[in-house]
Amino acid sequence: MASYSNTVNFGGLGSSSFVTNSVNAANALLVEGNANTLTITNATVVMGGSSSYLAIGNAGATSNLVQILNDGTLNMMGASVNLQWSHSAYSTGKRSSR
């Protein structure tokens, strides 16, 4: 279930070295619910290629923020970025089509 008003930080100001986080292939980085913030600063986050994805604000969510600040890198490795995608389409691993 989506949660609300959370803050997640990858890295952080004052870190002495870069931190590499990873989202493995066929997995997702999701920001759901309302008023959540994901911040990447002084860190490198690497996605798992085209079979992974970053989705923000699905499931009827509002007011979510993903921010990539100075010295922050989000390397998508070919993965897609989607704002306001259908949650149900993701949950089935399929995209809606007409």
Binding site: I56, Q67, L69, N70, D71, G72, M76, V81, L83, Q84
Partner: protein, 179 residues
């Protein structure tokens, strides 16, 4: 499974001095219902490198939207430091439910931008692209298409659009008038 048809909105991706790289398609307001006021912004020296970008109901991968997708923004540039952006094709407006995907905006200022083809309208109405000062936009492949709906605008004010290095194109405000 049918996508949910609910109202979403006010979702941000802010590349504020950081780097978002190697992205596939970027869909600002995609399928799933009524999507309003979603923003991707690159500012303060930020860098964005991606495949195709869609602003409105039309997904860059060719999947049609299914509802209202209005008032979404793709903002390239802002702050003192120039931003650097590379995209595939850029499409504002929808297909299929085209008339419902309107009033989407792209602004470009203080930026080095290269892209594929640019489409403003794409069957929808009242979508706008504004290019202002200190911009060099190199359309590497494809053409600029304005229309398919009504009231779609490409405004170039002090910016420069180039294509394949074969000369510069400076144009006054352009506007589509018919579908």
């Amino acid at each position: 499974m049918e996508p949910q048809r609910v109202q979403h909105g006010q979702t941000f991706i802010s590349v504020n001095g950081g780097v978002l790289t190697n992205a596939g398609s970027v869909a600002i307001s995609a399928t799933g219902g009524a999507n309003f006021s979603n923003v991707v912004q690159v500012l303060n020296g930020g860098k964005l490198f991606s495949g195709n970008v869609s602003v409105g109901a039309f997904d860059a991968n060719g999947v049609y939207g299914n509802g209202l997708n209005n008032g979404n923004l793709y903002s390239v540039g802002g702050g003192a430091a120039m931003v650097t952006v590379s995209n595939g094709t850029i499409v504002l407006g929808g297909v299929g439910y085209s008339t419902l995907s309107a009033f989407n905006t792209m602004t470009v200022t203080n930026a080095q931008l290269q892209s594929g083809a640019l489409t403003v309208g794409n069957g929808a109405s009242n979508n706008t692209v504004s290019v202002s000062s200190n911009v060099t936009w190199n359309l590497i492949t494809g053409n600029i298409t304005i229309g398919g709906g009504t009231g779609n605008w490409l405004t170039i004010d002090s910016g420069v659009l180039t294509k394949r290095g074969r000369g510069r194109h400076r144009a006054p405000t352009a506007r589509s008038t018919t579908a």
